[in-house]
Amino acid sequence: MASSASSSTGSSKKIDANGGPDTADKEEKKEDRTFECNICLDTARDAVVSMCGHLFCWPCLHQWLETRPSRQVCPVCKAAISKEKVVPLYGRGSTKQEDPREKVPPRPAGQRTEPEGGSTFPGFGFGDTGFHMSFGIGAFPFGFFTSTFNFGDARPGAAPHGTPQHLEEQYLSKLFLWLAVLFIFWLLLA
């Protein structure tokens, strides 16, 4: 191993060769242009890259995807793009190896609207709102329909237990659950 004296001269020479920290900084800036976000034009932070190879800050790209949720295209080449299909970049210098997509801004909440007044939503039950829920699951591959077919929009709360209306709802919910199950089987077999 080299003596400590020689290694320290080595490092000081290197700084000299770069012409001091100022020039080094400038050179670094020039090189960094390759890694500029295509939206804010700064060096990409929390960088992500699209399938088409374009680099963005995740916050910048996220804001763009939010701007036109119905038509998500790459700002540079107009290729289709989505949150799920961007790759986070982890450089050696990055402190934390966390997925930038997990950070702010968080993934937007789903577009399903819960029926109004359903404060006692029992989860995946067969109860009051089961009908609503199971239909949602059945239509899972077509996420779009889930929100459109939201029967519960103006439903004035679930009927109280024991009433005929409640029983009817329960029956309907089971019926739809079975339909959903059959549908899934059909999808699997098809």
Partner: protein, 154 residues
């Protein structure tokens, strides 16, 4: 660059690169723009060898604080509005990248280039067919117009 909003930060960068490498025939007064980064005035010369050779135009860019996610409002202003099938006599421009096809990866420079090429490819100087009606009825902001981009050939 402290104290600038993200929009202004980006505009500042665009201004620096536009001053450094302007598209042919395009000039800006960067001192004026630096006082208000959200509104630019750009001088554009008609390219030589085109119908607009020797003419001078002024383009006004207005940016919202949502820029670059929101497209700039771009109009021709001043005494000379180019006579072109996609340019109304009030300065409004029918150009898809200014509304529907806007992308935050575009820039002032890209818009200028696009307008220069739109002018350069013109074969006959005339106003859009619906000019009189449009100018009378349109909103002051061209971005409020629901444009039809049916004719990409001119």
């Amino acid at each position: 660059m402290a104290g600038l909003s993200p929009s202004e930060r980006r505009l500042q960068k665009e201004l620096m690169s536009l001053v450094k490498e302007p598209p042919p025939g395009v000039t800006v007064d960067s001192d004026v723009i630096e006082r208000n980064l959200l509104q630019w005035l750009i001088n554009m010369d008609g390219a030589s060898g085109t119908l607009y050779e020797g003419e001078n135009f002024q383009l006004q860019f207005k940016f919202s604080n949502k820029y670059p996610f929101d497209s700039p409002e771009v109009t021709f202003v001043g005494p000379n509005i180019p006579v072109h099938p996609h340019v109304y006599s009030n300065g409004h421009i029918c150009l898809s990248i200014l509304t529907d096809d806007w992308s935050p990866a575009l820039s002032v420079q890209a818009v200028c280039l696009s307008i220069v090429s739109m002018l350069s490819s013109c074969k006959e100087k005339k106003r859009p067919p619906d000019n009189a009606f449009y100018v009378k009825t349109c909103n002051k902001n061209p971005k409020k117009t629901k444009w039809w981009y049916h004719d990409d050939s001119v």
